[in-house]
Symmetry: C2
Subunit: 304 residues, 2 copies
């Protein structure tokens, strides 16, 4: 999977940072988290097409997280998209989309919207699921986790040959977790495969104060993308506004033992991200500050 940061600014876009938007390419599918103003243009600049299967997860209905949706739908219509777009978000999402569609004309391709009312699994298909937990912000907000299913353990061809299993379709089926019977002998996957390997996990905080539900969701994540609107000197302001400081985000990453913490939603008052990074690094070493168009590959987990 490859993560592309389309917009990494907080509240107001700056010269260098656009409004919130992160997209994960998983095979052909795009899984996008938030869609602030200008996201479609960032997609064009990043070379991400508008015709792909796509699911969009909006954390909350603040302008800098959702105001790119109208123009994205319009451009997808102009380009004659036919594929269904799935959009998830808090209560009010449908009303928002209807409101501007009535004024400007709605999309001419299928858009299915889901308003989330309860934390839990909001989408599941072969290979992965997406979970939502309540964020702590000034309005109904969600944090999201993309959790891949465990992958079958690594196939051991030497072992298979030892057992007299002929190379061919049987190998594939065992590798996919199926049992195979050959000449009355039953072969089970664990006879020729290592233990199942964990799927990857990527968690996106959206705007939120630090909270336990998010730490729980992020536990052991390969990548936690966490907002970091303020430095700790403005922790009162952060609490008041439902935001997180760099130090607090690092604490979350540390408690959740994530593989890598990526800070985003950087306020335009910090044009130089070094101070943000330094504050977080004191608490959690494996942290970076995102920038617009940053790409991050999340490799498959190795077998034990």
């Amino acid at each position: 999977m490859r993560i592309t940061f389309l917009g990494t600014g907080g509240s107001m876009p700056s010269k260098d940072r656009g409004a919130s938007g992160v997209v994960i390419r998983r095979g052909r599918e795009l899984l996008m988290f938030d869609c602030g103003e200008g996201t479609q243009r960032q997609m064009v600049k990043a070379g991400i097409g508008f015709q792909r299967p796509m699911r969009l997860f909006i954390t909350h209905l603040h302008g800098d997280h959702v105001l790119g949706l109208p123009a994205l739908l319009q451009s997808m219509s102009l380009l004659r998209r036919e594929e269904t777009l799935h959009v998830y978000g808090p209560e009010g999402l449908v009303r928002f989309v209807k409101a501007f569609s009535e004024s400007l004309g709605g999309p001419v391709f299928p858009v299915i919207m889901y308003e989330i009312t309860e934390p839990g699994v909001i989408h599941e298909e072969e290979g992965y699921r997406v979970e939502a937990v309540k964020a702590v912000h000034r309005t109904h907000s969600w944090s999201y986790g993309l959790l891949e299913s465990p992958r079958p353990g690594k196939f051991n061809p030497e072992k298979a040959k030892e057992l007299g299993l002929p190379e061919g379709p049987a190998w594939n089926r065992l590798q996919l977790g199926e049992e195979v019977e050959i000449d009355g002998v039953l072969f089970k996957p664990d006879m020729v495969c290592g233990p199942p390997r964990d799927g990857r996990k990527i968690v996106y905080s959206g705007d939120t104060s630090p909270n336990d539900a998010l730490i729980e969701l992020a536990r052991g994540a390969d990548v936690l993308i966490h907002e970091s609107t303020f430095l700790d000197e403005l922790s009162d302001r952060a609490e008041e506004d439902g935001h997180t400081t760099a130090a607090q985000a690092a604490e979350v990453g540390k408690k959740a033992r994530v593989g890598r913490l990526v800070l985003t939603h950087i306020s335009s008052r910090y044009p130089e991200p070094n101070a943000v990074l330094a504050e977080a690094k004191k608490i959690f070493e494996n942290v970076i500050v995102a920038y617009d168009f940053m790409e991050l590959d999340v490799p498959l987990k190795k077998a034990f």
Copy 2:
């Protein structure tokens, strides 16, 4: 006056061209024409502040001309703007602003909206007026002209001294067009000033097919900013969609005898604007193709 082109792309933004937006700085005031998605960020990049007196003229309610308004209002609110913002546009403007305000929260400073139903003068104050004429597009659309009032003729200090007029407040008053009586002698402005000088005129087409009302409005304009969505090879498509080709825009500039023609709303199918420029130049010499962040000074007219 200084014109800044914030977005010069057509329909869909490209890597190099944002959605439509042009701003004219006239003294402290901003006169903005259209506000496509991303306009606020282009303003930040161009160093144009959000606190200035401002009038915004929307040509029509298509996304690439109006979808920057919600985020602009939100950012102005975040920055605690207090100054009134005046927004002019076609019928449906109020409904559009209300629709997203109800979903996302409306502006916290005064916004006065004007829906234009008849061509004519839509705003007038000391020094200039703005006129609207009907554009020919797929939806209710307006073209706008900014017309400065004639300025008093050039004051001639030698002439004033010859007439025995003492240097001082009387000079200023005469220069401003007032009569002055000194010791029973009446002095009229034309005794010491040259003939009134024309004010400047800038015309903005918005999206439109070529039409006579626009030529009339643009007659003698210092600058005509005209859409040029297609090349002439796509003139059928241009007519169908209510757009103009580069050659047609040049014809408009030629017929209206404008000082300078600036082509904008360039389709992303023409990443290289040379062909656009070449097509127009065959018909009208004084033409340029706008690019994002291009600035154009419109100097005061010289006295005769």
